[in-house]
Symmetry: C2
Subunit: 539 residues, 2 copies
C-alpha cells in the first residue's frame, strides 16, 4: 500500500518519482522552485501595508464556519464562468472557481485567471478608492495556485483579444475571498493540459516547457483530472454508458447486477484474484459471463450489465488493466448468432453517431491535447468471416495460422487492410476457429472446427467478443471438459441449463477501451479514472 503511488510532498519527492525518469524528477524540482519563488515574489512585491484596512471586509479567507452549513439563508448561486459573455457587460457577478494563475503587476494591480471546469476568465484586481485596497492586492497576489476563490465584480469587455482564457470578457474585481487554500502543487494544470505539439513548437522556438509524464499524472490524479482533456474524456465515458443503456432499454433489454465474488474461477482461463470468503475459497469475477447466462436461463430474455471486471493480468501493455468496467449483453436468439451481431452493429453505430452529435466540445477538448482523426465507420457495419480476414492477410504476404487466433500485430495489419479496402475502422470478424474461443461458445452447424462467434475491432484493436452460447447441458459439459475445466467448479452454472435454456448469445466490451479507441488515445490508463495495473494499486 505504501510506496509508488502516494502523492508527493516536499519531503518525499524522490521516492514518489521512482517510476518517473530522473529527468522528469529534475523538471518537477525546477518547477516547484519556480513556484515557490513566484509566491515569495508576489508577497514581497506588495507594500508592507500593515496598517488597518477600512476595506478589509472585501477580501480574506472565508471562515470555515461559513462553509459548515451556516449560511443556509444564502440561496443565491454564482454565475457559471462558461456563461460570462459580452451580454453581461457592466453586470455585477459572483463567480467561484480556482485561481489557476496569479500575476502581480507592481503594487496596485494583480491578475487572476479563474477556472471553473474547462472555462477560464481573467479577473483584474486594481486598487480603487471605495473597493480595492493595496492590502487586498497584496492578499490576492499571495494566493496559492488552484485555491478556490469567490470573486465579485463587474463584467467588462476589453478592446483587444484576451489570450490564454476561454472567456472573452474580464471581471473587474470588487470583492475576493478564498474558500479553500491549496499547498504548493506537484504539477501545474497548465503543464498537465499541454499537448506534445505545443511542447515541440516551443522547443523549436528555443523555449523549454514542462512535459508531465504518465506516472506523475497518475500519482497526482486528483490534480491531473482537472485538465480540459480529462474532463472531456470522463464526460465522454459517462455518455457512452448512457447511450449504451438507452439503446438497449429501447430494444427491450433490462439491466442486471451480477455478483463479483464467486466460487471457482468465472471462465476457467485467465488468472483471477483470489480471496477468502468466510472460510471458503472465492475469486473475483473475470466477467459476468456465467451469471448473465443464468439470468437468461431464468427467462429474463434480454439483459445487460455495466460493472466491474477483475483480471489478475501480467500484461504491461497500453491496453490491459487489472480492473475495468465491462459492458455486457446477453439475449435469447431464435436461430442465428447474426441476431446478436445485428444488436452490436446498431448499438455501436448509435454510440458513435450520438457521441459525434452530443460530445463535440468534449471531443475537441480531448483533441486539443491529444490530436486524433474522427473514427471512420459505416452506417451498416462490415462483417467479414475469420477465413476472409486470414485470406486478406495472406494476400499481402502475412502468414497466420488459419486455425489459430490473430495476434495483436496481425489484428492491426488487418485493420489497415480493411480500412484501405472498405473505408471503415470499425468492423466485425466472425466464425472464429472453435479452439481459440471459450468453452461456452457454440460450434458451427456445418463444421465443428469453427464457432458461431465474433470479435469486433476499432482502429485495428479488438474491443468486443461475442458468440452464440451452447445451451444444451450435455454439449456444454463436453466442451468444458475439452477445455480442461473442472466441472465441479462450474456446477451451479451447468445446473441452470438442465431446466431448458433458451438458445441465446451475447457479447462483452470494455468501457475504457471503447473510449480510448474512439478518441484514438494511446493508453488505456487515460480512460480509467483511477487505473489498476500490475504496478499500480493507488491512488
Amino acid at each position: 500500500m505504501e510506496g509508488s503511488s502516494q502523492t508527493p510532498t516536499n519531503e518525499d519527492l524522490a521516492s514518489v518519482s521512482k517510476n518517473a525518469t530522473k529527468k522528469e524528477a529534475a523538471k518537477q524540482e525546477k518547477l516547484r522552485r519556480r513556484q515557490e519563488q513566484e509566491a515569495l515574489a508576489a508577497s514581497a512585491s506588495s507594500l508592507a501595508v500593515d496598517e488597518e484596512d477600512r476595506l478589509a471586509a472585501n477580501y480574506g479567507d472565508v471562515p470555515l464556519k461559513d462553509i459548515q452549513s451556516k449560511r443556509v439563508e444564502d440561496v443565491s448561486r454564482p454565475t457559471k464562468v462558461g456563461a460570462l459573455t459580452n451580454a453581461l457587460e457592466n453586470c455585477s457577478v459572483w463567480i467561484r472557481g480556482r485561481a489557476q494563475t496569479i500575476r502581480a503587476v507592481g503594487k496596485n494591480i494583480s491578475f487572476v485567471v479563474l477556472r471553473e471546469r474547462e472555462f477560464t476568465v481573467q479577473c483584474v484586481v486594481t486598487v480603487q478608492p471605495d473597493t480595492v485596497s493595496r492590502q487586498m492586492v497584496k492578499y490576492v497576489s499571495g494566493l496559492s495556485r488552484e485555491s478556490i476563490i469567490d470573486v465579485e465584480g463587474l463584467v467588462s469587455v476589453p478592446s483587444v483579444e484576451i489570450k490564454g482564457t476561454t472567456q472573452q470578457v474580464e471581471v473587474q474585481v470588487r470583492k475576493l475571498y478564498c474558500v479553500t487554500k491549496a499547498v504548493v502543487l506537484p504539477i501545474n494544470i497548465e503543464d498537465a493540459a499541454r499537448s506534445d505539439a505545443e511542447i515541440e513548437k516551443a522547443l523549436q522556438a528555443g523555449e523549454k516547457l514542462v512535459r508531465v509524464n504518465q506516472d506523475t499524472r497518475l500519482n497526482n490524479r486528483s490534480l491531473d483530472l482537472r485538465t480540459p482533456a480529462n474532463l472531456g474524456i470522463f464526460r465522454i465515458q459517462s455518455q457512452v454508458g448512457t447511450i449504451f443503456r438507452q439503446f438497449l432499454l429501447s430494444e427491450d433489454f433490462f439491466e442486471i447486477h451480477t455478483p463479483k465474488i464467486n466460487p471457482g474461477s468465472s471462465e476457467g482461463g485467465a488468472a483471477v484474484f483470489r480471496l477468502d470468503y468466510k472460510g471458503q475459497p472465492a475469486c473475483l469475477a473475470q466477467s459476468p459471463q456465467l451469471h448473465k447466462q443464468m439470468a437468461i436461463c431464468g427467462d429474463f430474455g434480454r439483459v445487460f450489465e455495466i460493472g466491474g471486471v477483475f483480471r489478475d493480468e501480467d500484461s504491461h501493455t497500453h491496453r490491459h488493466l487489472c480492473e475495468f468496467t465491462g459492458l455486457d449483453v446477453e439475449m435469447e436468439i431464435y436461430w442465428h448468432y447474426s441476431e446478436v451481431m445485428d444488436i452490436v452493429d446498431r448499438l455501436f453505430v448509435t454510440i458513435f453517431d450520438t457521441l459525434n452529435e452530443t460530445c463535440q466540445k468534449e471531443l475537441e477538448a480531448v483533441g486539443r491535447q491529444y490530436p486524433f482523426e474522427p473514427l471512420k465507420y459505416l452506417p451498416e457495419t462490415l462483417r467479414l468471416t475469420f477465413k476472409e480476414g486470414v485470406q486478406m492477410l495472406k494476400d499481402v504476404g502475412v502468414e497466420v495460422d488459419p486455425m489459430g487466433d490473430l495476434n495483436t500485430e496481425a489484428e492491426r495489419k488487418l485493420g489497415q487492410l480493411v480500412l484501405e479496402k472498405y473505408g471503415t475502422e470499425f468492423y466485425i470478424l466472425h466464425r472464429y476457429p472453435l479452439a481459440v474461443r471459450p468453452f461456452y461458445t457454440m460450434p458451427c452447424h456445418d463444421n465443428p472446427a469453427y464457432s458461431n462467434s465474433f470479435d469486433v475491432f476499432i482502429r485495428g484493436e479488438e474491443i468486443i467478443s461475442g458468440s452464440q452460447r451452447v445451451h444444451v447441458p450435455e454439449l456444454l459439459e463436453e466442451r468444458a471438459q475439452a477445455c480442461g475445466i473442472d466441472l465441479k467448479t462450474i456446477s451451479a452454472y451447468l445446473d441452470a441449463f438442465r431446466y431448458a435454456a433458451p438458445p441465446h448469445g451475447g457479447f462483452g466490451a470494455g468501457l475504457e477501451r471503447v473510449v480510448m479507441l474512439f478518441c484514438g488515445l494511446n493508453n488505456i490508463r487515460k480512460t480509467s479514472l483511477f487505473p489498476r495495473d500490475p504496478l499500480r494499486l493507488a491512488p
Copy 2:
C-alpha cells in the same frame, strides 16, 4: 464452493436441503414423485402407436444443428404470447415459450399451457386428419415441464373464461416442436409463484399446496427467477437505476466508475474482504466514498456511480448482504448540506413517482405474490432533526441516547410515529451526533458534537446515509485520527485534499434495499439477483 448451493439432482436432494426444514424436504420429495407419475401417466395414456406417421413432420425435437445458426434465412419472428388477443382470432401464429403444464385428456387431446415471461396461453392439441396425429398427441403429452417449445396454430376464442392463463384466447395447435428439453424439476414455477394467502386459503379448504422456502428458491435461482413476481422485481430494479441516472444526468451530474480493489480499508470501520494484489495487501471497496470525493477534488463537480459494494458482514438479518449495488452521489455545494438533501428529496420523489407511473404491471405482479401497500410519501420530503426524532420517541416513552445512534427498533418506532403524525413513510432525519458518523463527516458550525449529516428512511428502515464532507485537510486528518484510523492507510485520499478541495457533500443508498422497501418485501435476498450473504456464495 461445493455444498449448500448446488442445484439438487435425484441423488443428492437430502444434502441440498440441509438449509431447508425436514418438512420442506418431504414436500419436495412428494412433488417429485407426483411429477414422475404424471410423466409416466402421460406416455402410458397414449396409444402404442409405433407405426409410421404420415404427419410426423408436424412435431418432434428440433435438431440442434437448426439452432446452431443454420437457419439464417429464417427472419420471421414469433408472435409474443402477451400479444395474443381476440383481435387475432382465426389467425395463424407461431409462438415460442415454455411448456408450463401438460395435461393429456384421453388419447386424442392434450392441453399445454405455454408461458413466455409473465404471459401464459392455453394450447390445445387435438387429433385432426390433416395436421395432428395420435402420435403427435402422445409426443406432446410426454414433454417435460419447462421445456422450450415452438407452437404453430390458429387462434380461437372460447366462449367461457379461461382460468389459470393470462391470455383469454387459445391456440389450436397444428405443429409443435421441442427446442430445448428440461429434466425433472426440483421446484415447479406454479408453486414458486404462489402467495402465502393462496396456500392458507387452500389449507382452510382442506387442500395442501406446496410452499417453496427461501433457500430452495435461491439454490435453484434460475428456476425461481421465472416467476412473475421475480420478473417484476428485477424489471423494477432496472427501472430504479434508469430513473436514478436520468434524473442526475438532467441535473448536470455525470457517471463515474471507481476502483473496487484498493489498498487499505476504504473507510476504516466495518470489516472488509482482503486479497493479495501482486504481492501487495489489498481490499475490496466498502463503498466508493473516498474515490468519489477524489473525483470532486478533480473538479468533476457532480458525479454519481452505480456499482458493486463489498462488506464482510456477519449480520444474518433480512436487510444485510455481503455484496450489493451501491447508488452513490457526490457533489460540490456552496454553503450548506441542505443542497445535498434537496437532491435526495427530488431524486427519490421522482423515482417513486416514475415507478408508480411506469411499472404498474410489475408492481401488480409483485403484489399478487407478496401483497403490499403502496408507499406513502409527500411531494416535498419531510425533514426532521435528529433531536426532534429523539424527542418524538421520548414523548411516547421510548428512551434513546440523545448522543448515540438509533437502533433498528427505535428507527422502526420512529417511522411509525412519523407516519401517524405526518402521513409519510419516507423522510429525512438530519443533524446526527458527530460521534456516530464516519470520520469524513463535517461537524456543525454551531456545535461540534453534532454533524452536517442525514439518514433517510423508508417504512421505518434506513436506506440512505449522507452528509457534507470535511474538505479541509487538517480537519480531515484530525477527524480520521479521532476515529482511530491509521493515516497511512488513507494517505492517497488525504493528499487529494491538499490542492484545495471544493466544499462538497453526497450520499449513498443500496439499490436492493430501495427496491425491497418500496415493494414492502420482507427480505433483501428477494431483490438481489444472486445474493451473497455470510452463508451463501453460490449460485
